[in-house]
Assembly symmetry: C2
Homo-oligomer: 241 residues x 2
Amino acid sequence: MNLILLFDEDFTRMAPDRASGRVSLVGRRREHVCSIHRAAVGDELCVGLAGGTMGYGRVVLLNDDSLELDVELDTDPPAALPVQLVLAMPRPLVLKRVLISATAMGVKKIFLIQSNRVERSFWNSKALRDGERNKPLILGLEQAKDTIVPELELRTRFRPFVEDELPAIIKGTRALVAHPETDVPCPRDLQEPVTLVMGPEGGFVPFEIEKLEAIGCSVVHLGERILRVETALPALLARLF
Amino acid sequence: MNLILLFDEDFTRMAPDRASGRVSLVGRRREHVCSIHRAAVGDELCVGLAGGTMGYGRVVLLNDDSLELDVELDTDPPAALPVQLVLAMPRPLVLKRVLISATAMGVKKIFLIQSNRVERSFWNSKALRDGERNKPLILGLEQAKDTIVPELELRTRFRPFVEDELPAIIKGTRALVAHPETDVPCPRDLQEPVTLVMGPEGGFVPFEIEKLEAIGCSVVHLGERILRVETALPALLARLF
């Protein structure tokens, strides 16, 4: 937790310009500040208001129940990556790590989609329930020092998504499908918005690749090595931007 | 497991040119072929001989105890990345994932080193014991379809390593330290060998950065976002090469 992410409901007092105030934290964030930061009254910690600005919070009270900070918020969060991610639903254990790392790298729009090689049971993952779904996104923001929570959308049917929705989503972006079976290497250092489509373990099936190409996606590879999605995603994002 | 990694002791028969033979597999590899590949007699599976060539193995016997394959090995493994990795020892849970992904991306030499912000207890990790240490390396090779097992070296003292050993290690390579506190962005698409040095969670301390700079390492950043090592490593490797 390199930044403590704050929400409106944490504030016991907030200035009308939302640039300062006092927050009271309990639970995970208080515990982290105690046990990992080993903070004391008077210390300054990096904070940010979800959806807003970042700054510092000075510890004014810290005990077994509560942490109170006087916060000053005056810095914009880091720029987002100009990318939308369309990702075949990973296994539940992998999903969390992938969402943390996509968020940490600055992805702000993520579609999780069904695909032929995605087990239907993955959609029942606890991690997708209300109240759980945002947790890895928040961990990613706290890791990278950012405040803008990514939008996460779920699409449980491949074909209607690709045929009816994806054409409008990719409009104005360079749409790339990461897939090992092509001779076209992934481009580098792009200066334009990208829609990055990634398949499941085992890859998209040929029918899915055809559907994606039919709406204007270009297939690119990242070398002959087959990478896990949690390795391939940071590699692709770092290469693209 | 996109490739079944074979070792000399798996062979019940091997041609003198080491390009064909029969192997008998038990345990994890047999189980994986049964339950994940759902292979049957006659199927061909991708195989590779550790340290050698890759090819296909045709299933000639498969039962609850044993898997036998007739293998033909005629393809070189993919090129290695021209990089040596010097990595502050990660937490045990992270170590395994980082070794898998470094190996999958083609790193062939990894030094795990002590650093000020590395807890001494990390060196007692079970994952470092004989018999365990190679497991994530093998998983990485099986994932990426490669056969060359990386060399993994442990150095439990920072200063003697950096002062006495590292100067010879970085000779003939571009030595880069990934560290957020610099204005120099990480270079892209290099055509020369690199030694990549990565700090622990929380980063190297200033004294360590000074020591690394003193022997000729250049500090570079990957943007203002602070990434976990398991995210930063694939991102750095994909950007460098």
